[in-house]
């Protein structure tokens, strides 16, 4: 339980720090880069390195490549929907998450499993 709480705190701090950086930068398209900052990855990998070691962390990073490809597909689709149809950002961002899950797990199934 303590481990989970520590993960929660460190993850929150990293994500907030990168979000703050993104908010401080202009133009918006450059600030948008920080929407894909490796904040959760850094928080998780630092903790994993402490508790499980390098090999375990490297295995997580390998799967993260698939997760990042899925993020690319998801963000491209969401961006296209917003540009093309001017839909409400929240609906597009949440509604398209199914695409992240299907791409990430699809890649895991064919490449990593």
């Amino acid at each position: 339980m303590t481990q989970i709480f520590i993960r929660f705190l460190i993850g929150g701090v990293f994500v907030s720090a990168f979000a703050l950086l993104g908010d401080l930068l202009k133009p918006k398209s450059f600030a948008g880069l920080f929407g894909a900052a490796p904040s959760i990855a850094l928080a998780t990998l630092i903790l994993t390195l402490k508790t499980e070691g390098r090999q375990y962390a490297a295995t997580e990073a390998r799967s993260m490549v698939a997760g990042a490809i899925a993020f690319f597909v998801y963000a491209s689709f969401a961006s296209w929907l917003m540009m093309r149809f001017r839909l409400k950002a929240l609906y597009v961002a949440v509604g398209s998450l199914a695409l992240w899950f299907s791409t990430a797990f699809g890649l895991w199934y064919v490449w990593i499993r």
Binding site: A19, S29, G32, G35, A36, P38, F72, A89, L90
Partner: protein, 137 residues
């Protein structure tokens, strides 16, 4: 073509609290999933778009409020701003792939702190380069 640092007066503390909460929850969930199903599945969540929905929603809200405060009808201005932010995130995800590849390949044979620092730099440099190239096209 310039990148500027501006005061973040438009972001309220509760909006950072929401991001903190999202980031914390996803990091905790990634840890639980890795423990339950192994690092192969858990690692996928290291690139979960945790703050993307919150970020684009806040950008849309702020742009809409800014326009209305100036006495103009907001129209689709907020949604356009959110789409521009999302287009930037697409470029950031390419940098994120480079980060993951770098950690995966370098971590077993190099000091961990160095690998994380170099990989974070790789994310930033590649993302920024792609942004510059895209701006010029």
């Amino acid at each position: 073509m310039q990148v500027k640092i501006s005061a973040s007066a438009s972001t309220a503390w509760h909006e950072y609290a929401i991001r903190f909460l999202f980031g914390g929850v996803i990091t905790a969930i990634a840890g639980i999933i890795a423990r339950q199903f192994g690092p192969g599945i858990g690692g996928l969540f290291l690139a979960f778009p945790a703050i993307f929905p919150a970020s684009v929603t806040l950008v849309e809200k702020h742009e809409k409020e800014k326009k209305e405060k100036a006495g103009f009808p907001a129209g689709s201005r907020g949604r356009k701003a959110a789409a521009v932010e999302a287009a930037g995130t697409v470029l950031g995800t390419i940098g994120l792939m480079a980060f993951a590849l770098s950690v995966w390949r370098l971590l077993p044979s190099h000091p961990a702190w160095l690998v994380l620092a170099v990989s974070t730099l790789a994310w930033l440099v590649l993302s920024a380069l792609l942004w510059v190239v895209r701006k010029r096209i």
